[in-house]
């Protein structure tokens, strides 16, 4: 998974690496925004700082020419919600007078297992759409990780993309810097979209994306400090705290399981048997009572959930330990708030099933059985 930086954070990193970015200031109140705009000088762009793409389309970016307009725009954008994320912070930035917009990106080519550097002259729009509709308009250079992006490769990508020749070497220089940032900072994706080309033939990074590989944060302490809770809802934030892999979905059958593949399969089976999964929740290895309790607590507190599948395949973990965990977790309840069906399989599963307090939960022996039962329970509640 990756940690997303805000535009202003990414721009700090880019600027440190020598990439030109517009003059800008951060604001968390309307007054601060107006003050920032006046000190930078109009026109300025007022930009929502949120961890989602497409904020321009959603009204999260506005170009303003006067203090009054700046005040109005800041008041409108601060606090607005973009794709579930609330805007708490604005970047007020000198507007760039551009004649062309380019796209530069560095990411991991998963199939090849190698980094890839990309350039396109169709910047300023959704690059995924460009990739889909005009794949040939994106020049790509695969990088040998043992040697890094060579200068000639950056030039080749820029010339292949058809960037104006008088700025080609400048753009190649930016691409080289972008690759170095990606490489040094354990980037998952590094993008400049758009890289603006001004009338004076300057190249300026008008936007900046830098996502960091979560698994590498231990060696990127400066960036790790920038991490903030960016969960879309309370339950996802809660899951982060408990250390669960959790995704909230739209349905009403809650799911708790272990192992990504098996939990995904459980979701699919709920759907297959006519139900709708409410979540993906992988409690991972081990069968500690506390983890079991936290997981049940999470699905119980999701108001969409009408019934719960609890499916554990104890590999190395013993089924009797899991069962003890479930019993302990449920002993705190006078009454189980939502029907729970448990299936234990694998090591010591039979012993586990025997230990399970079946006054509190229903038990099933097969994966298909536990899913069917929970789907039926959920239907009953709905009726």
């Amino acid at each position: 998974m990756k940690m997303k930086l805000h535009e202003y954070q990414a721009k700090q990193v880019f600027a440190q690496a020598g990439i030109d970015v517009p003059d800008s200031r951060l604001a968390t109140t309307v007054d601060e925004a107006v003050e920032a705009a006046e000190s930078i000088g109009f026109p300025v762009a007022i930009k929502a700082q949120v961890h989602v793409g497409g904020r321009g389309k959603a009204g999260g970016i506005e170009l303003v020419e006067t203090p009054e307009d700046a005040r109005e725009a800041a008041a409108r954008i601060l606090g607005m919600e973009i794709k579930g994320y609330q805007v708490d912070c604005l970047l007020v930035e000198a507007a760039v007078n551009f004649v062309d917009e380019l796209y530069l990106g560095v990411t991991m080519d998963r199939g090849a297992g190698r980094p890839v550097a990309m350039v396109s002259t169709r910047g300023g729009v959704d690059i995924e759409e460009v990739a889909e509709n005009q794949p040939a308009s994106i020049a790509r250079e695969r990088v040998d990780p043992a040697f890094g992006l060579q200068a000639y490769q950056a030039r080749k990508a820029v010339y292949d993309a058809g960037v104006d020749r008088d700025v080609a070497l400048d753009v190649a220089g930016v691409l080289t810097s972008l690759y170095k940032i990606w490489d040094d900072r354990d980037g998952a994706d590094a993008e400049i979209n758009p890289l603006m080309l001004t009338e004076d033939r300057e190249v300026v990074a008008a936007d900046a994306v830098l996502n960091i590989d979560d698994d590498a944060l231990f060696r990127q302490p400066e960036l790790a400090e920038m991490e903030e809770e960016a969960a879309e809802d309370e339950l996802e934030a809660q899951a982060n705290e408990y250390g669960f892999d959790y995704v909230r979905l739209e349905g009403n059958v809650g799911i708790v399981g272990n192992g990504a593949g098996l939990v995904m399969t459980t979701l699919d089976l709920v759907d297959y048997y006519g139900g709708a999964p409410a979540n993906f929740l992988d409690i991972g290895g081990g069968a500690k009572a506390e983890r079991v309790a936290n997981a049940l607590d999470m699905v119980f507190s999701d108001e969409n959930v009408d019934s719960v599948v609890f499916n554990i395949f104890g590999g190395i973990t013993r089924g009797d330990e899991v069962a003890t965990g479930i019993n302990e977790a449920l002993s705190g309840f006078d009454r189980i708030p939502k029907p729970v069906t448990v299936r234990l399989a694998g090591t010591n599963a039979a012993e586990g099933m025997e230990i399970l307090n079946d006054d509190l939960v229903a038990v099933e022996e097969t994966l298909e059985g536990v899913v069917k039962r929970a789907v039926a329970d959920a239907e009953e509640v709905t009726l």
Binding site: P145, G315, A345, L367
Partner: protein, 289 residues
């Protein structure tokens, strides 16, 4: 003959002195795996689970004639451990470690391409030839010897399907978990090649999941160069775009790449029977034998 490992495979465990390394070394030995050495820098001369520990992998290989390694080294040091393993003439390296930085793995994968060694994983449960040897953390008791080769990106899903197979009397020739990370050593295609060449394997079960294009590549490979019949399963049909389902690799992009539908189509077009449920998969493979 076996696809990856057998009772004669001589195993060195990297990270044998850690909690997980030690526990699983004992489990592997109990299963019958021929664990001959451990390798941990600074711990040479110790003994764990009756096995001598060496400071370097090279020394363990030299002294004990090891030909395979299992890596339980923590993520921050795992790439180093893998480079070390790849610098020796080992045939097989199995990386159990979860959470290795992706850029570390691009380097390892680059180095791997220069060697004759196979890497399974990382972030995987390992590989087992039932009744002979297991390298990794797979629970030996659910497996039974037989004719079906199984390859999967997921540990517990492997256990689910293997357990049903064993209960129905369908044994396994080899089961291998290739791992859920975006960058892995041995791919589906590599494993399918091994199964095709393995005289003990008469049918194959391949369990894929959303994300990436490995399953699509495997489908093409099956159509072009496999005679052994394959039964497939794809997890993640209900996964919404942009959400990572547990595995770092299990994510469907907004552009629609890596969806379950695309993978199922590709496999079915290659003549693979794709089960809607794990139970269907087991029934289909049973019918092939």
């Amino acid at each position: 003959m076996s696809a990856f490992v057998d009772a004669d495979t001589r195993v060195v465990v990297q990270g044998i002195t850690g909690g997980e390394g030690q526990f699983h070394t004992e489990q592997m030995i109990e299963y019958g795996t021929n664990v001959v050495a451990g390798a941990v820098p600074g711990k040479g001369g110790q003994e764990v689970a009756g096995v001598p520990v060496y400071d370097t992998v090279a020394r363990a290989v030299r002294e004990e004639d090891a030909d395979a390694s299992v890596v339980f080294v923590p993520p921050a040091f795992a790439a180093d451990a893998l480079y070390e393993a790849l610098d020796t003439p080992l045939n097989l390296v199995v990386a159990i470690t979860e959470g290795i930085p992706t850029q570390d793995m691009t380097g390892v994968k680059r180095r791997l391409s220069e060697t004759d060694t196979s890497l399974i994983g990382p972030n995987c449960p390992g590989v087992i030839t039932p009744g002979e040897a297991k390298l990794g953390i797979l629970p030996g008791n659910i497996f039974s010897p037989g004719k079906v080769g199984l390859v999967s990106r997921s540990g517990t899903l492997t256990y689910q399907i293997v357990n049903s197979m064993t209960q129905r009397g369908v044994g396994q020739s080899t089961a291998v978990g290739i791992g859920g990370d975006p960058i892995i050593g041995t791919s589906f295609v590599d494993t399918l090649d091994r199964f095709e060449a393995d005289t003990d394997t008469e049918a194959v079960v391949m369990c894929g999941e959303i994300g990436g294009e490995d399953e699509e590549r495997a489908a093409q490979h099956i159509a072009e160069s496999m005679d052994t019949p394959v039964v497939g399963f794809i997890a993640g049909r209900t996964a919404p775009p942009g959400k990572r389902m547990g595995h770092a690799g299990a994510i469907v992009s907004g552009g629609g790449a890596g969806t379950a539908a695309s993978k199922i189509d590709a496999l079915e077009n290659a003549g693979v029977t794709v089960g809607d449920t794990p139970a269907e998969v087991v029934k289909s493979v049973e019918a092939l034998l």
